[in-house]
Amino acid sequence: MFKQFWAVSLMSLQTLPQRLGASSVIVVGIAGVVAVLVSVLAMGAGFRHTLADGGRADRAIVLRGGSDAELSSNLTRSDVDTIGNAPGIAKDAEGKALLSNELVTVVNIPKIDTGSDANVTLRGVGLRLTQVRPELTITAGRMFQPAVRELIAGVGATKQFRGLTPGSVLHFRNADWTVTGVFTSNGDIHESELLADVDTVGSATQRSGYSSAIALLTSAAAFTEFKDALTTDPQLKVDVQREPDYYAAQSKGLSKAINVVGNTVAVIMAIGAVFGALNSMYSAVAARGMEIATQRAIGFGALPVLLSVMLEAVTLSLLGGLIGAALAWMMFNGHSVSTLGGAFAQVVFKLTVTRTLIITGIVWACIIGVVGGLFPALRAARLSVAEALRAA
């Protein structure tokens, strides 16, 4: 039985080159579906990576109670002092709390590709920034100085917005700000932002409070202690979240929307591709009618014939799936795009074609191949030997 299957399959695969036109329809059709599916989902994966994977479990973000994002939050100086004294927070060598009090505002910078103004986050950060966020590395230029109008730009932002090279000067809020450096930060959302000293940003925007406080904790387990201390303090009305939870909530809406769009479009395209595959496989079976009938006449069973047709369809689909995934990877992996994030400011992210996405694409390809091959395979298996031989 297996011997028969292999013999028949080998024969059908060997005759493939003679049916190049019809077979390539399956390959191209499925490559198209998989390329679109993987590219769109890569957008979602990249966005999730930028937001959700950015945070550390041992870092907490404190916002005013009831605010769901930094932009609508407001903490006073005394709030920040109280937060700095909470248990569970990590301390530096001098015994100072590793806390960054931050102020988020928005500036307008033209996008490189369209030239139209986009809202870019300018984040005022506390003095202990580099200890609270050790993943932050300056890759060009130098760190900003406090008390002067200097800022550093995230590497993502420099690719999307104009004039963010070290040494260039930006004009906003009636003042000139010098870009002193470019930083990376593990590919997280801060790479879309500009960072500067919090009090300088505060005076430029005439705001006295802060948007949030970011605390590095002694360990991920210390979070509960830290949170409980702050939320039970009657002087404070704050929400405390682990950083990954905060960013996951921020990215939920858009990444869900991207997945819905990607899957819907791919399902519709897949239906089209199934029709294409059916067409090709029916014509393959018709073209090989004589051959199949002969095989049946000399004693090959119906099942090996059926399986050989299925194998051909799935082989072609697999090839199409691989080509599609490869195309998506070559064209879009690492491609940098930006969109309006939850805080009315631009989030820059890279399309990421992950291994899971490639596997998803290939699974889709196989499903299309199986569906598209099944009915033609049944026809081949049921072929009446006498009629098929007579037709020739």
């Binding site: 390539s24 198209g32 009636n174 819905v260 294409g276 029916y282 014509s283 309006l340």
Partner: protein
């Protein structure tokens, strides 16, 4: 036209193949129609209840940054400005954050004067709204969504504004309903909830005396851009510089920032049509190849080369255009579903028209190579060689 039965018959020569090809073209055009309407919606944001005579002034840097209330008076004195009103983003939702409510604190007189051509409220409901300090004037669609009735007390949660007691929950008494005069604009207002600006400004614990953005109506729409420049000049070099733009551009600026939606959609459509071209093209080639002897017979009967070319082209066009029409009709039917996902956006059915052009183009590209092949056949060769 007299050859139509012939074209029809050849089209159905192999039923399964034609049906599958038709179905894949239908599917492609369904996708085309849907994506094209979405693209159209993104590139042509409807000005909503606002026409060419409306301007919006916001903080130069971001809609999230406030402007001082004093700006309103200064803008009022700009010649050509007929009415000015001021608003603030409330960031409201009802019970759960997914129940977004576009709650807007308004100055009743100026707001309704500015939008007098677009909004309708019955006199009685307007009176009730004015007389209730905590009153809310709610769009009928929103009332229905949450099952509210006039007289209900509803709490709205603000993600931004705390009251003096520290609470983020604001309670309103529904005083009446309002709607758009033009029914095509009604979806713009579908989650609108208006309430008194004074209540808001007195109640909030911070930000008093600031406004979120300012809207203006000008006497002469042709002067609108000059007036916008004059307004911005008033506040140039002040700590709160402004950006004034027609309300259409105001909406557009947000959509532009969402990213190049159009590019993504066009890239998908490109992939779909490349695939389709390949698939349909292959079917046509195959069909013509099988019919070589038939074409020889046709030519023997006296059909000219041009006539044979025409027959194959007609067949290809018929296949593509008929399937495209079905696909577009399906996407037309799907518009209400798309609309649920894109609230507040107007989807124009006119965006479907290019689809027919694309179908004709597809038919020509797909049909031309086999048609040329059929045209060039010589009778003797074609009859001799069956393939």
């Amino acid at each position: 036209m007299k050859y139509f039965p012939l074209v029809w018959a050849t089209l159905w020569r192999k039923k399964t193949r034609t049906i599958f090809t038709l179905l894949s073209v239908v599917v492609a055009f369904l996708l085309f129609g849907v994506l094209e309407t979405v693209d159209y919606a993104f590139s042509h944001p409807s000005g909503g209840a606002t026409g060419a005579d409306k301007l919006v002034t916001m903080n130069k840097y971001s809609i999230t940054l406030p402007l001082p209330f004093a700006d309103v008076q200064q803008i009022r004195s700009v010649p050509g400005v007929e009415e000015v009103t001021w608003l603030t983003w409330f960031g409201g939702y009802y019970q759960e954050s997914k129940n977004f409510v576009f709650a807007l604190p308004i100055d009743i007189d100026t707001y309704f004067n500015l939008h007098k051509d677009e909004l309708i409220v019955s006199d009685a409901e307007m009176r009730a709204f004015r007389d209730t300090r905590t009153g809310g004037l709610v769009n009928a669609a929103l009332m229905k969504k949450f099952g509210w009735k006039v007289g209900d007390k509803v709490p709205l949660h603000s993600t931004i504004w705390t009251q003096k007691n520290g609470s983020l929950d604001w309670t309103f008494d529904i005083a009446g309903t309002f709607d758009a005069k033009d029914p095509t604009q009604a979806s713009q207002l579908a989650s609108s909830f208006l309430f008194h600006y004074e209540l808001f400004d007195e109640g909030r614990s911070f930000g008093k005396g600031n406004v979120g953005w300012i809207e203006e109506r000008v006497t002469d729409p042709s002067q609108a851009s000059d007036i916008a420049n004059r307004i911005d000049a008033l506040f140039a070099n002040s700590p709160d510089e402004t950006k004034t733009q027609p309300s259409k551009d105001f909406a557009m600026a947000f959509i532009k920032q969402l990213g190049d939606v159009g590019f993504v959609l066009r890239a998908i459509l490109g992939a779909v049509f490349f695939t389709l071209l390949f698939l349909t093209g292959n079917t046509m080639m195959q069909s013509v190849r099988e019919r070589v002897p038939e074409f020889a017979v046709l030519k023997t009967l006296g059909f000219g080369d041009a006539a044979v070319l025409g027959l194959v082209m007609a067949e290809s066009l018929l296949l593509c255009v008929a399937a495209a029409l079905v696909g577009l009709a399906l996407s037309f039917a799907a518009i209400p579903i798309v609309k649920m996902g894109l609230q507040g956006m107007e989807l124009s059915r006119g965006a479907l028209l290019p689809g027919i052009g694309v179908a004709v183009l597809l038919g020509v590209i797909v049909g031309l190579p086999p048609a040329l092949r059929a045209m060039r056949l010589t009778i003797v060769d074609a009859l001799a060689d069956k393939r």
